[in-house]
């Protein structure tokens, strides 16, 4: 596999062909914020906060670094006035859902995002899809999925699968940046799981978060 030479924030970087800009930047110690990225999962490109600026023949273009692949002699900027402005807006939009999520609060500090810019929304979920994709791609169980679309879209456990698979797994819990997932899980557990199951008696109580 050939090696590609590119420039990120003025730094010469070598990366393998097929590497994403995000991976190349992080390997060189340049940090780019992400919310829906996970190294075990296929790039999702949903949160858009990892966007960076490419410079090509005098004009610039914004792309998301978790998807865009390295190219020879590419000039990439991970911060600019415009990037920061858009990241701030993305954060403010998400803080309307999850004002207390630690990941969002940290980023809000860095980008000067106002957590109260927009009226609060009822759902905590920021649709990063980490739970859904982890369950599908790593565990291959599809116990949790997205339902509906647009602003009505939400995550939901499929009771038939969840009641069979989730007791012993729960690996998606710590992935959730807002803990909305756990709420959804608990709800389904309360509504649909067999109450007399022997496993349920063995310490899987609410709030008892297993560590992976």
């Amino acid at each position: 596999m050939s090696e590609i030479l590119l420039q990120i924030d003025g730094k010469e970087i070598r990366a393998k062909e097929g590497t994403t800009l995000l991976e190349a930047a992080r390997s060189a110690g340049i940090s780019i914020p992400t919310l829906c990225y996970h190294e075990k999962l296929e790039p999702f490109g949903g949160c858009r906060i990892c966007l960076v600026e490419l410079e090509m023949r005098g004009w610039t273009r914004l792309v998301v670094s978790c998807v865009y692949l390295v190219e020879q002699n590419l000039v990439v900027r991970t911060r600019s006035e415009k990037i920061d402005r858009i990241r701030k807006m993305i954060l403010e939009l998400l803080l309307a859902h999850a004002p207390d999520a630690f990941d969002l609060q940290d980023l809000a500090k860095e980008y000067g995002a106002n957590r109260d810019r927009f009226e609060k929304e009822a759902s905590f979920c920021i649709h990063c899809g980490l739970c859904v994709r982890y369950c599908a791609e790593v565990k291959k169980k599809n116990a949790v999925g997205f339902v509906d679309r647009g602003i009505r879209k939400e995550i939901s456990f499929i009771p038939e699968i969840a009641s069979r698979e989730c007791w012993t797994c729960k690996e998606c819990f710590p992935l959730c940046p807002t803990e909305a997932l756990q709420a959804a899980y608990v709800l389904v557990e309360a509504l649909a799981f067999p109450k007399s199951s022997s496993e349920s008696a063995s310490g899987n109580k609410e709030g008892d978060r297993p560590r992976i």
Binding site: G46, C47, L69, R85, F146, R149, G150, I151, K153
Partner: protein
């Protein structure tokens, strides 16, 4: 329709023989009654008219002397059901079953034109008995849609009779795939579905991409509000789409094609399925097409109604059997598309142009249009326009000509305000730009876009803030919800616009909308999100004062936003005629005989009934916005004393 099983046609020569044989069975002088059986005319009662014609012809014993044909949409939907009688091409509009016996005995038997059914020019009063005399048709260039009225879309023989599949025969018998590609490139055919991307370059990319298996796909997921040109083509002339698609497949080396069509278009689905079956039977699809050794099959896939599936990567994801969400990848789908393979996706109308370009040549095609937009374009002309329908015009025609010459202007003597082009991703173009030439780049420069050809005309009563709110509401509902700038950005934009139209707009709202727009345009995953602010930004560009009036003056200048208007009866004009009082569904009008009517603002639901029913000679009911409603006239002053009335 001839239902005998046809032997496969094995060469272009055999095709010509079959064509001649079909034509020899048809006497061009035999009267033929063509009745539009497109979805629009069916909705206005064409089904009953067709039944009536069949019964009447049988009753008068004319089965052997008259043909009837259920055709596709000729475009003049405003005046449907449309009936055209050949060979004279007499065009009857708004035909009802009651008119049928007269048409058969007068026009078919006696060759007399029935005046009351022909088009009358509303300004000159002149009659236009022939289709080609009607201004609506006369000013069009109907290269593609013109065939609709001549054929029964369920009959492959009808298509063959007008020269169908001759372009395919030409390609397969003497053109290399490079040659086909060159012709399409030379014609500079640009995608009719939205982006206007050059079809030739797209095809070339797929052709040169590595891989044995490649796909060609028809995008028939037409979802723009008020747009129905693709439906009319697929319903009215499905073979032309199949022929174009097969030619495209040959050019890029594909052997499998898909038609992604909305489930909401049942007639299009039915007709295209019949067309595929017939084309297979005749040997225009399947193995060894016309004896050339080229194989190609087509499958129909019905979409489940998501607007975002018109986006190329979302459409392909849906074709693969997954939820229709766009892909985040930065690689064109003509290189890595359906199932990861090179896939050419073009819109219905783009494919329909291909047989014409092959048959008549790129030079013929490029004689229509502007420097960078060639050929014709079909628009669905809807909204506040006299002649609602489908119009096909050469690129470069001005908006004014489309709206006034073809569309017949604005009904009710109202003033033109703006035209919305390009669907929800397009924008509104104001009166001062009416002389703008219609073309891909011209419309984009004006802050709108060609899109797939929606054209919604708006008059002075349309509130531009409400229009942008409407389109954003549509897109918010249709967003797939995957990326933040689109899902969350539109959620907030819609809230702000709802507030503004409800009189709850705040200082700074416009700036916030502009900031949210920037994030949507720059950071959204797909074209739906990236273009979602267009209606908003174009109305801000041309009608910013309306936004400001809503926010600062709590006034809707078009007197349209319910929360910002009030109805008031002018006591000096009210004649106490009792009409509004009786019609008011909220019983909000007080008054009586000889007592001036007064609206109880508390009870009023602002439905506008009183405004509509108040006789124009009185004109007593007024709409008010941005100013206080005058206090009700005191009880004691309400009695009308009629001096001259003798009763």
């Amino acid at each position: 329709m001839n239902s005998r099983i046809m032997a496969r046609i094995n060469s272009p020569e055999e095709l010509e023989k079959v064509r001649q044989e079909i034509l020899s069975r048809r006497d061009p002088n035999t009267p033929c009654i063509s009745i539009c059986a497109g979805a629009g005319c069916i909705a206005s009662g064409a089904g009953e008219v067709i039944t009536a014609f069949k019964a009447e012809i049988e009753k008068q014993g004319l089965q052997a002397d008259v043909d009837t044909k259920e055709t596709g949409c000729p475009g003049f939907c405003e005046r449907g059901p449309v009936v055209v009688i050949y060979p004279e091409e007499i065009c009857y509009l708004q035909v009802k079953p009651e008119d049928v016996s007269e048409i058969v005995s007068q026009t078919i038997k006696e060759k007399k034109v029935i005046d009351r059914l022909v088009y009358v020019d509303p300004t000159t009063g002149e009659k236009a008995p022939r289709e080609s005399d009607i201004p609506f048709y006369k000013n069009q260039e109907r290269n593609i849609i013109g065939s609709n009225i001549k054929i029964n879309p369920k009959s492959i023989e009808d298509y063959l009779a007008i020269g169908g599949y001759s372009a395919l025969a030409k390609v397969l018998s003497g053109m290399t795939s490079e040659h086909v590609l060159e012709e399409v490139k030379k014609a500079n055919l640009r995608g009719r579905g939205g982006g206007g991307f050059p079809a030739g370059s797209k095809w070339e990319g797929s052709r040169n991409a590595p891989g044995e298996i490649k796909y060609v796909i028809v995008n028939a997921d037409e979802g723009d509000p008020g747009a129905f040109m693709d439906r009319a083509l697929l319903e009215g002339n499905p073979h032309s789409i199949l022929e174009g698609l097969t030619i495209g497949a040959y050019a890029i080396g594909s052997h499998e094609g898909y038609i992604y069509v909305r489930q909401e278009y049942p007639l299009a689905v039915e007709n295209v399925n019949i067309a595929i079956k017939k084309a297979e039977e005749y040997g225009f699809l399947g193995k060894n097409i016309l004896g050339s050794g080229f194989d190609f099959t087509v499958k129909v896939h019905q979409g489940a109604g998501a607007f975002v599936c018109g986006e190329s990567t979302a459409l392909m994801t849906a074709l693969e059997g997954r939820a229709g969400e766009p892909r985040p990848k930065y690689i064109r789908s003509n290189i890595v598309g359906l199932w990861g393979r090179p896939s050419v996706l073009n819109n219905v109308e783009t494919w329909a142009n291909v047989p014409l370009i092959i048959n008549k040549g790129a030079d013929w095609f490029t004689q229509f249009g502007t420097e960078r937009s060639k050929g014709t374009k079909i628009f669905s002309l809807v909204g506040k326009i006299n002649n609602t329908g489908l119009v096909e015009v050469p690129m470069g025609i001005t908006l004014r000509d489309i709206i006034f010459k073809i569309g017949g202007g604005i009904p009710g003597g109202k003033r033109f305000k703006a035209v919305q082009t390009g669907g929800p991703s397009g924008g509104c173009i104001p009166e001062e730009l009416l002389d703008l030439q219609v073309g891909f780049d011209e419309l984009t420069k004006a802050g709108s876009m060609m899109g797939s050809g929606g054209m919604i005309v708006m008059d002075e009563d349309t509130c531009m803030v409400d229009i942008s709110r409407y389109f954003l509401d549509f897109l918010t509902d249709e967003s797939c919800g995957k990326c933040v700038p689109c899902r969350e950005g539109m959620r907030q934009m819609l809230k702000i616009l709802n507030n503004i139209t409800q009189g709850k707009g705040r200082e700074g709202d416009i700036e916030l909308l502009e900031e949210l727009s920037e994030t949507a345009i720059e950071a959204s995953l797909c074209a739906l999100g990236k273009s979602s602010p267009n209606p908003l930004l174009s109305t801000l560009r041309y009608f910013r004062d309306e936004y400001e009036a809503h926010i600062k003056g709590k006034k809707c200048p078009a007197l349209s936003c319910k929360e910002l208007i009030a109805y008031h009866i002018d006591p000096n004009k009210c004649q106490a005629c009792m009409i509004c009082l009786k019609k008011c569904p909220a019983e909000a009008i007080e008054g009586g005989k000889n007592r001036i009517h007064v609206i109880d603002e508390e009870k009023c639901t602002k439905c506008g009934t009183c405004f509509e029913v108040c006789p124009s000679r009185f004109g007593a009911v007024k709409k008010i916005s941005g100013e206080p409603v005058p206090p009700p006239i005191p009880e004691e002053a309400r009695t009308i004393v009629r001096e001259s009335k003798q009763k």
